[in-house]
Subunit: 346 residues, 2 copies
DNA sequence: CGTTAGCACTCTTCTTTGATGAGTGCTAAC
DNA sequence: GTTAGCACTCATCAAAGAAGAGTGCTAACG
């Protein structure tokens, strides 16, 4: 990381990475001198390339091919050479226009965001809705399904709806449930889920609860309803775009990629890591530590409202993805979704 | 369809179809006499095969390959030759055990059903949840999101939860909304959505509504909430299994299939057709009229409760899928899901 | 001393060629 | 009606050669 390159080496590395991003093919010394005007002969470029290879920034698939950037090469490129083009106001306006969130529920917004990101970048879009645990409680409803089976619906401040089924030994009538709903909604609205849990467990210990039948029921039900994490929601858009990439053009690689994108669990783990820090994060190649996603890179960013509902969105593509294009798209989209979440609360 | 084949031709056609299903490769005259004991020489079989080809049941990819069944061949096989093996009680028990629906919400049940069908058949599983319009109303909740924006949650008798966002010019307080909720839930529970719509529109015309502010609001909101169909839910499981099929082993075909399975809309159209008739339905090859799904077959069945919530599930695979295995799986699964839906209402 | 032209060398890719083998269709005999 | 025999077709595979791209090294140049 601390390794220093002189300017010429940097220029050549940059040229190689960019040519490789554009062509997906090993780039040779001759091609570089042609496409970029360094006033250097291919032979000189070759010397530099040889040095860069020794330092681990490049590698050659075989003797008589050009060089391709290694993971380290991409790293260096992204950290030191890449100039991220910000979107012009005009582009932003255009982008905003392509979204139509009017009257859309949260799930649809997430899906749509993924679709548009994918469409703009021509890579696969990923969106992970805010974890329920990170949201602020808005409303809970218990609905009787059948003897001893209750449907719980909870709604977050941002309009995210989740539901689950719980078993309940007492067969409560819908009327009783309504009272419970009222009680809970009155008590809990506006707290984040963490606080809700805490409040419930402390109240359950409270002496008074012993004597108040309704309250006890309410607390025990909601405790049950919230004790297990609901599944994370992940939206994948443009899976097939991955298959258009020349690096995944063989049947085996296609299978591997599709399997990886099929496994929501893998994706959740991956996106979770994007929440570690704010702003755009980039995971290159083996950093993801998933062999299924070998050769892939992931650009993510998080979105949230002030109250902390944190979700992640991003774009996954080949390691040689067009970072200068993708980064501003992901960045802007995340900010936009955050604004939508804010608007939702108002 | 009315075409008649003598017994020998039938036997040979059956043998060819089954060998082809097993091997995915053109089957030759010699191979048949070897694997099945017809007491016929390859030459005789060849004559029959030649006839079958003339009649359009078989075709040869090229002169020196064996024959493969045409779509017509598969049709004949399925309609006249296939003996569907029913599941033994023991197998049914085993199958039932592999499902764990305890405490699962409806969405999860659907997803799980798809997964298990896919796992059992080794093909791609499809499940389409009952259309909301076919369900019976259980509960509706309006929740205020922000100025003029309401979240509507509706729950069907079977525990299916859907939500959407509607715009509402009047800024109603949560308290007013609760009254509206109460009113509507009291009035509408137990009706199917069709009746609900009718009731609302007739009441809206009713003179009395003019004077009852609350009632008018309630009706107008619910009319808005129910006027547009919510999106259909489709669950696809085991996409990558499709890529294991030798007929889709080239990159181009893989792309095509993945694109087709990615498009929920295509799948919905396809599954909708399965609702035309009860019981197991089979769509072979071009019957689906989707070029993206060329070479595929679909085996579907519908599930429902007595009140009419109708959904479709099935398995999609290559035309040469193992129908004798898949049909009982799909059939039994559909029945099982129906039972679960019944239990849900109880 | 950095830079460059020249050249031999390597290795992939593409095309050609020929061998192999599976399978057919026809004919003649059973 | 059935079957053995045989010529013929055509895909598949492997080997071989030609073309081309790119490198690394060396020696000369400014």
């Amino acid at each position: 990381m601390a390794e220093e390159l002189n300017e010429r080496s940097q220029n050549i590395l940059e040229a190689i990475v960019e040519d490789y991003i554009a062509s997906a093919e090993p780039v040779g010394s001759r091609a570089i001198t042609k496409r970029h005007s360094f006033n250097l002969s291919p032979a000189s470029v070759r010397n530099v390339m040889s040095d860069l290879e020794d330092m681990g920034f490049l590698c050659s698939p075989h003797t008589s091919a050009g060089r391709i950037p290694t993971e380290k090469g991409f790293h260096y490129y992204i950290d030191s050479l890449l100039k991220v083009r910000h979107l012009s106001k005009d582009e932003e306006r255009k982008l905003l226009k392509s979204y139509r969130f009017q009257g859309m529920k949260m799930e649809d917004v997430m899906q749509e965001v993924g679709r548009v990101m994918s469409g703009l970048s021509n890579y696969t879009g990923l969106v992970m809705a805010p974890k329920f645990a990170s949201t602020v409680f808005r409303q809970i409803e218990f609905i009787r399904l059948s003897h001893g089976r209750l449907l719980v619906i909870y709604v977050s401040e941002t309009g995210l709806v989740q539901n689950k089924v719980i078993e309940c030994p007492d067969d409560l009538s819908q009327r009783e449930l309504e009272q419970i709903n009222n009680y809970l909604n009155h008590e809990l609205t506006g707290l984040n889920i963490h606080d809700v849990r805490e409040k419930i467990s402390s109240e359950l210990k409270d002496e008074r609860s012993r004597f108040d039948q309704l309250r006890r029921q309410a607390l025990s039900l909601s405790s049950k309803a919230l004790q297990e994490e609901a599944d994370d929601l992940v939206y994948v858009s443009g899976t097939s775009l991955m298959l258009e990439q020349p690096e995944f053009s063989t049947p085996e690689k296609m299978k591997r990629i599709i399997q990886a994108l099929e496994s929501k669990k893998t994706l959740i783990d991956l996106l979770d890591r994007g929440q570690a820090a704010a702003g755009v994060q980039i995971f290159i190649g083996s950093q993801s530590q998933l062999t299924e996603l070998e050769g892939c890179s992931l650009v993510t960013s998080t979105f949230s409202n002030q109250k902390g509902a944190i979700g992640t969105l991003g774009v996954i593509g080949p390691m040689r993805m067009s970072y200068s294009q993708v980064i501003p798209i992901v960045d802007f989209t995340a900010q936009m979704v955050s604004r939508i979440l804010e608007r939702e609360i108002e």
